[in-house]
Symmetry: C2
């Protein structure tokens, strides 16, 4: 179980990671302006282990998810109405500065300072995934690297099947995500996975048995990305002739 | 067809819409730091018209999506390697400043200044959706408002069926998205929809016939969100006893 403590939040005046730009343009003659962030495209991989008949997911503490839950635990709704954005899951106006929370798990829940949510509130289940940030590698090669680094399976590129691609965060980032499917066996396992600890990645590899997959997908008490839900239902719909799957949903 | 011209891109030092923060914390005793953006949660609605047996989607020009394509049309890969982020569709380091493109559709493709992509490169198909930015309204009530404003159907809250919820942009925003399903008929149509032009929304309502839905979902030449793909396949998987659906995928 993760332990999160000593939480402090400060406005981020300059970030090496979040780079905001404004684009001004005319749309059918009407002048418009939009703030956006530049991003990398990304790949994700639904991994199915044919030895154990389990899906292989990754699980990690996500500060951004945690902060959403932290904010909801605050006494006053912090968001003003209205925004630039009216789409699926995009940023919006925020107050000048969130409060600062000191000791985390040890919070005493003093007046006006609600107890900090448990670390589990920020832990999400996700597909193995990575950014397309190596121009000399194909999407498949990047996907292969992520499967190896995060989950410890060495899968030849030829065994990656492209599922589809789509746009994410259309209001703010708009990056293209490409999803692959990879069947692996215990024989392909060459390491523990877990990401790159030297880059701060603390990734846990988890297995979801095939017969529990659809229940897992629709269990809203388990925080997860839409990629997990979509890929499980895709598998269910595309692979059911090949593998027996519980359809108890 | 959209016409996009007079495109100018400038760094965004301060935004009313994109608010970045840094959270510092200890994870299992290890000090960490993460830049994130505060967001609203959101709702989206898969709308199925039982009169015409069509799905009702919205289509609009998305500057962030367009800028991704615009950047790809540039001669030099602009992104350095490495980043804070290794997940599904999240922001990453960007160079100091993108170039500025002047006349859009009329670009002459001068040396070193590639032709601007067509406006269609930034037009995406999406589910009807909106931000959860009204604390006094339930998710269902917000969803109902969006269906009315964007698509012109007046649907009682009781006819909204919750599909599921999930986390989006787990690296940067982490907001919770809740997806609903609404069956409507032509009798529920009370207006043209199209969003709020006074707030700059230029939304086109489009119909996707049921028998074309799965082909549409997996056609990668049609830019769309994962919400569209997932909800179509969800419908296919959950509603197929009720409606005949092409399974030609």
């Amino acid at each position: 179980m993760e332990q999160i403590s000593n939480l402090q939040v400060v406005p981020c005046a300059s970030s090496d990671y979040l780079k905001a730009f404004t684009v001004r343009y005319s749309q059918n003659g009407t002048k418009k302006s939009w703030d956006f962030m530049r991003t990398h495209d990304s790949v994700s991989v639904l991994i199915f282990n044919t030895t154990s008949h389990c899906f292989i997911l990754v699980k990690q503490f996500r500060p951004a998810v945690y902060m959403c839950e932290w904010e909801k635990s605050m006494p006053t709704p912090p968001h003003p109405e209205g925004s630039q954005e009216g789409s699926e899951g995009c940023p919006a106006p925020a107050p000048d500065e969130p409060a600062t929370s000191g000791e985390g798990q040890e919070s005493e829940g003093a007046a006006g300072q609600p107890e900090q949510p448990p670390a589990s509130a920020g832990v999400t289940f996700e597909l193995c995934a990575g950014l397309v940030d190596k121009p000399h590698l194909s999407l498949e090669e990047i996907a292969r690297q992520e499967v190896l680094e995060e989950c410890g399976y060495d899968v030849p590129v030829a065994r990656l099947r492209r599922i589809t691609s789509y746009r994410s965060g259309v209001g703010v980032t708009g990056a293209k995500q490409t999803m692959f499917y990879a069947e692996v066996s215990d024989e392909d396992r060459v390491s523990e996975g877990g990401g790159k600890p030297q880059e701060g990645e603390l990734i846990e590899v988890v297995k979801v048995p095939l017969h529990e997959a659809m229940t897992f997908a629709y269990d809203e008490s388990i925080p997860k990305t839409m990629g997990v839900i979509f890929s499980f239902i895709w598998f269910h719909s595309s692979m059911s002739p090949k593998y027996k799957i519980s359809t108890n949903v």
